[in-house]
Amino acid sequence: MSAKRTKDIIRVAAGQGFWGDWLEAPRRQVEGGDIDYLMLDYLAEVTMSILQKQKERDPKMGYARDFVGAIESILPAIAKRGVRVIANAGGVNPPACAEAIRGVAERGGARGQVRVGVVTGDDLLPRLDELLAAGHELRNMDTGEPLSIVRDRVLSANAYIGSVPIVEALDRGANVVITGRSTDTALTMAPIRYEFGWGAEDSDKLAAGIIAGHIIECGAQCSGGNCLYDWRNIPDLADVGYPIVEARADGTFDIVKHPKTGGRISVQSVTEQLVYEMGDPHSYITPDVIADFTSIQLDAAGTDRVHVHGIRGRPATDKLKVSVAYRAGFKAVGTLVYAWPDALDKAQKADEVLRARLAHLGLEFEQLLTEFVGVSATHGPLAGEFHEAPEVQLRVGVRSPDRATVERFTRELAPLVLNGPPSVTGFAGGRPKVEEIVAYWPALIDKGVVQTQVEVS
């Protein structure tokens, strides 16, 4: 790996925390000040299966379409200022995503100035039967069951891949790197590692890069968004600044945001993000390194600046995590709103009536869940007793392997408006929608089985 070391500090900016995040953020990150890299994270656990369904309908689809608009909005920065972009927007079809990006570059008059790097090899779906036959059982990490029991319902299967192929794409001159199921954290760590020439043995530094990635991978969630600490006084969320990592060769880094943006970066806001989705903090396992979150030191280092140091890591395991998505039946959720007086009593009575009717119809569900929104939906019995709520939303959800059963449920809610308890409203949205459930199956596979490829054009 060749060390670039063109600068003492490398600035990696986060412009997207999930598919559906703020469309303005990528452009604001490149226009708000100097950055070297823009990192865009589009993939959540279920996103791959949605993309797989799109690809089945149209072989040119299967990637995060928002990315095309994002590139369009920042094309001058890529072409003229040398900002490089790394995104897992490729979904289950990175080559098609790359094609779309080349199209945007051409239309934007930046032909020849955009070199697209494509990382593939994470998609295990075409190889799934071969892998199972070779004895890779892909047992569910939570339940221990072998994948064979849901094989006929599998929609997508992707290995989480690390920073190495992204580094290769950068080294070969790509200024837009598109991956499929890369880990979110690798998107940030890869450019830092590339610039400073960190090798596989630099566990502490790689772990620092991973933790930098974890801090910014959810976008503004570390810079004032969804921040409980002192939330009333966080300035100007309408203009919130997304986070930027300022990384140094020694593995220390600062979390900052562009000047004159809203939000807040503080030890508290960064700590809240660090504990988000945390498991065992001693072992944050990635394809590149195992990071130890109990080693992280955070120092307030001025307004909207947190200095991060002390991070330790250990060599990675010989496994990769695999995310499999499979069809798991159908569900629907319907709601009605009951008003004062006796709002909760009315909602409870309506639920009784509804359940009796579903039973009379002989409908059986894998699950039938009733919640009273405004009373107990989020905190359950911990919320305590409520008297005289101004209104209560009755929210009923069902799940079944049989679509027709769920369909029938969706017809039973609206009649309650005229033939159930009184003072009911809030049904203007119409009948609940039946959704196919795509469930998630986490598994492990031997690293050697997954071969990534990099193409730069």
Partner: protein, 118 residues
């Protein structure tokens, strides 16, 4: 004296399958020791009785003045299977902050803890 977690800590939660995690962070560095001593795995298990179906694990992060709790069986199957409003456990954090602890007065004084508002 009665002390409520919402007055001495902040928190964030997320999900992994059917498990919700809650990171509980001391509002003042010196309160971490108190949290570590009083917000035990057993106390949290008791708090969420009837709300979660599985066990509770606790990890300590003195460097971040934080405790991390894993609440198993919290999400009704989790992810896309769950029918819950909070299918991804985003607000389990605030459910933990409801916890009220009975603290000996001398201990409350030593840590300068605020009394529960209710």
């Amino acid at each position: 004296m009665r002390v409520q977690l919402v007055d001495i800590a902040h928190a964030r939660s997320g999900d992994k399958g059917d498990t919700a995690n809650v990171g509980l962070i001391a509002l003042r560095p010196e309160w971490f020791q108190f949290l570590e001593k009083y917000v035990t795995r057993e106390r949290v298990r008791q708090h969420f009785r009837g709300v979660i179906t599985g066990d509770v694990e606790r990890y300590e992060l003195p460097n971040l003045k934080a405790l991390n709790f894993l609440l198993h069986g919290a999400l009704d199957g989790g992810g896309t299977l769950s029918l819950k409003t909070d299918a991804q456990g985003k607000v389990f954090s605030t459910a933990l902050l409801r916890m009220v602890l009975d603290v000996p007065d001398v201990e409350a004084k030593r840590y300068e803890l605020p009394a529960a508002r209710q």
